[in-house]
């Protein structure tokens, strides 16, 4: 580890903290329907949407109506995306003449992009037409991100409101977030990324003649516009197979910094939205602090592991002072690759600027743990905040048990119904991950997936289902996932990970909104201090740790000790 590496990490953290409050204020204004800088341009557009769609944006929806609207919207999105992928060979903007995507891959991909997972069982530049990328995948990148933010805001309203029937209007939330937040920021990001060298064109792939006289085909496309929303919406699905390791998709250290910031910006700002909504911004900072503790711990371990290099490579007389460089780009080196890996899995982004599959055993374990913990460290846009708030409910419930008092959180009594729904949402994730991973390690179709043998092969399977159920989308990418078995099981895991969390979460939002505000008393446990932060971090680690430690012991931990003993597979 170098001083320079840590300065870069510190710079990133500082900029995220500086962005949190201003962006939180803007988001708060947008979600409350107040006037903003962009209102003069966007209000007419927004009204047009509502008129054509037959929506009254002021109509309050109960949690169940809100959930139904969201589900119907997902079904429509699935149908359109599936058709686009299946018919891409007949549609325009396909200069490379890409064939239609086969049914199981198209289904897996459609679910993957709808659920904000962006797991990719395909290589972008060898599978997708420009139209599929732009009008299919990128559109769902916007909409699944907007859905995530909408859901988080709905839960925040549950805490903020008292004796209310509704938790907001799904359609209005969706349209506002997309038009006022995601699209304007993406336009700025796109211009920036093109300046840094990311292509944005519709031309066919370029045929170059190299200096040694060989032919080199170089993929092109409208990369920058898709890259922007892929990061900002914590989607993570690469335009190219190599994702943000591809020099066209992440050309410089500066583009890399902005991509990392784009992943965390909205998720961090949402904690501030929460604080504002419950009338005490310290509540938001407490949540962000708990996230920060987990984040920095992850960065430390991953950076330490990657900077140390591979001792088996060093033993062959190679100078490994630069660290473990297999699967990494020279322009990023070990520190920025490790940092990016932690960020992308702490948030449920899943973009990668280095191949996690080739990380050191403990370095690769950190991304895995981040997703296993439920991606509550900043998390996916929206998904991180509602995930962390569910853990906050659990933490406050545990604290209540210890002192024998009805738990309260930001003025709301936490009772049996909320705790049951919270546990349901929290337990679905390990069920999907461990259930499918166990099946895949015994059936031949599952065992055919991992190219690496030994404990690392198990890690590859575990990572796949973790990433799918966690709606992350990053991979130990060696796994041959484009098979009927993996396309189908991963698709189910992605749906469980999305909807089995969202629906109980919305139920919690609904019951919380209906409750009266309880006045704080001397007996109320303060939830803006260090004690609560510690309790929250503890709850996340204990639930995650107890559930997944055995699986981690079989995968990365076993591989770590095998490595120390010099065992090869």
């Amino acid at each position: 580890m170098t001083f320079n590496g840590w300065v870069q990490i510190a710079l990133f953290v500082a900029v995220v903290l500086l962005l949190t409050r201003p962006l939180g204020g803007y988001l708060d204004n947008v979600m409350a329907g107040r006037r903003t800088l962009l209102s003069p341009v966007l209000v007419p557009v927004e009204r047009g949407f509502y008129r054509l769609a037959g929506i009254d944006p002021a109509e309050e929806q109960s949690w169940w109506v809100y959930a139904r609207a969201m589900i119907v919207f997902h079904i429509a999105g699935f149908v359109l995306l599936y058709l686009l992928l299946r018919l891409q060979d007949l549609l325009p903007l396909n200069p490379q003449g890409m064939a239609a995507v086969l049914p199981d891959l198209a289904g897996n991909t459609a679910i993957s992009f709808l659920t904000n997972t962006n797991w990719q069982n395909y290589g972008g530049e060898s599978t997708m037409s420009y139209l599929s990328q732009m009008a299919g995948l990128a559109v769902q990148n916007f909409l699944s991100a907007a859905t995530g933010i909408a859901l988080a805001v709905a839960l925040v309203r549950g805490f903020a409101r008292a004796e209310a029937k509704g938790i907001g209007n799904f359609w209005a939330d969706l349209v506002r977030i997309t038009l006022y937040v995601l699209l304007p920021l993406c336009i700025l990001l796109t211009v920036f990324f093109v300046w840094q060298g990311v292509p944005q064109n519709l031309g066919g792939y370029v045929e170059a003649t190299t200096l040694e006289g060989a032919r080199q085909k170089i993929a092109q496309g409208p990369v920058a516009s898709q890259l922007s929303i892929k990061m900002l919406g914590t989607n993570g699905g690469g335009f190219f197979n190599a994702n943000s390791a591809h020099p066209y998709e992440n050309p410089t250290a500066l583009s890399n910094l902005v991509q990392m910031l784009a992943i965390f910006a909205i998720g961090a700002a949402l904690t501030n939205v929460f604080g504002r909504a419950v009338g005490d911004e310290r509540q938001g900072w407490a949540i962000l602090s708990a996230m920060g503790v987990l984040f920095l711990a992850g960065v430390f371990v991953a950076y330490w592991a990657e900077a140390g290099g591979n001792p088996l490579v060093a033993a062959l007389g190679v100078d490994t002072t630069a660290g473990n460089m297999e699967g990494k780009e020279v322009r990023f080196g070990a520190p920025l690759s490790a940092l990016f890996a932690v960020i992308t899995t702490a948030a449920s982004c899943g973009a990668v600027n280095a191949m996690h599959d080739s990380f050191m055993p403990l370095g690769g374990m950190i991304p895995l743990i981040n997703i296993l913990l439920g991606e509550v460290v900043i998390g996916g846009v929206g998904a991180g905040l509602y995930g962390m708030l569910l853990f906050a409910i659990l933490a406050i419930f545990l604290a209540g048990l210890m002192v024998g008092r009805t738990p309260e959180y930001v003025g709301k009594k936490i009772e049996a119904r909320e705790v049951k729904f919270t546990m349901l949402a929290i337990l679905c994730l390990p069920l999907a991950i461990l259930g499918f991973a166990s099946v895949a390690t015994v059936v031949p179709a599952g065992l055919a997936g991992p190219p690496n043998a030994g404990p690392h092969g198990f890690s590859e399977i575990l990572y796949a289902f973790t990433s799918a159920a966690g709606n992350n989308g990053s991979a130990f990418a060696g796994l041959a996932g484009n098979t009927l078995f993996y396309n189908a099981t991963l698709a189910v895991a992605m749906m469980v990970g999305r909807f089995a969390v969202i629906i109980p979460m919305l139920a919690v939002a609904g019951t919380l909104a209906a409750k009266r505000k309880a006045a704080a008393s001397v007996g109320t446990f303060p939830t803006h201090g260090a004690l609560f932060v510690g309790l929250l971090v503890g709850a996340v680690l204990i639930v995650g740790g107890l559930t997944f430690l055995p699986a981690l012991a079989l995968g990365p931990i076993a591989e770590h000790f095998a490595l120390l003993a010099g065992t090869l597979f």
């Binding site: 949407f49 919207f73 530049e125 300046w195 370029v206 003649t209 699967g327 920025l336 599959d357």
Partner: protein, 185 residues
């Protein structure tokens, strides 16, 4: 329920037009006007022919050129239409055997980036140490002096952005183009 269906379909179609067509196509226009070189892929032309992109590494095997890193792209190294890494585990026998063979050819103390594949397989850079490592070979093949090449490598070494971000690096294609230009003079 029917209201939800109508709202879903209308919003989805409107969003597809705005986000899926208007936004990317407008960005193609704006980017093309503001940054024509970058938006077209940072292509390098020599004598009217495209010889590559300054952002995309290419395969070099001749002794007269500086070499890039090993590449694990699909269908052969440095395939610009099929990016990807080796995805080999640190405990993979295939990885260690490959490194053993490459390190054996390159010699003891070789910088790690010269014997490892990049994440994209298209890494256009090597570390300054990896470029220096090859100076003796290129100098011999080109009948040039070591100091001349040291100067050239130093000229083509990019530092960290703002002295802070990223890692120092050498763009192999641009270095080799400069090498050819030097030889022509």
């Amino acid at each position: 329920m029917l209201r939800h269906v109508r709202a879903s379909v209308v919003i989805l179609l409107l969003m597809t037009v705005i986000l899926g067509l208007v936004y990317p196509l407008a960005m193609v226009g704006i980017a093309g006007a503001a940054f024509p070189g970058q938006s077209a892929g940072s292509l390098i032309e020599k004598d009217g022919k495209v010889v590559g992109s300054s952002l995309i590494g290419q395969s070099f095997t001749a002794d007269t050129y500086f070499h890039g890193r090993p590449s694990a792209t699909g269908d052969g190294p440095y395939n610009g239409a099929s990016s990807g890494g080796s995805n080999l585990a640190p405990t993979s026998r295939a990885l260690i055997e490959r490194v053993r063979e490459d390190a054996g050819k390159l010699g003891k103390g070789v910088p790690v980036d010269l014997v490892t594949t990049s994440g994209s397989g298209l890494d256009p850079h090597v570390s300054p140490a990896a470029a220096s490592w090859q100076i003796a070979r290129v100098a011999k093949a080109r009948n040039m002096s070591d100091t001349e090449l040291q100067r050239l490598v130093a000229q083509h070494t990019d530092g960290r952005a703002f002295g802070l971000l990223g890692e120092p690096r050498v763009n192999v294609l641009q270095l080799n183009l400069a090498l050819d230009a030097l030889a022509k003079r």
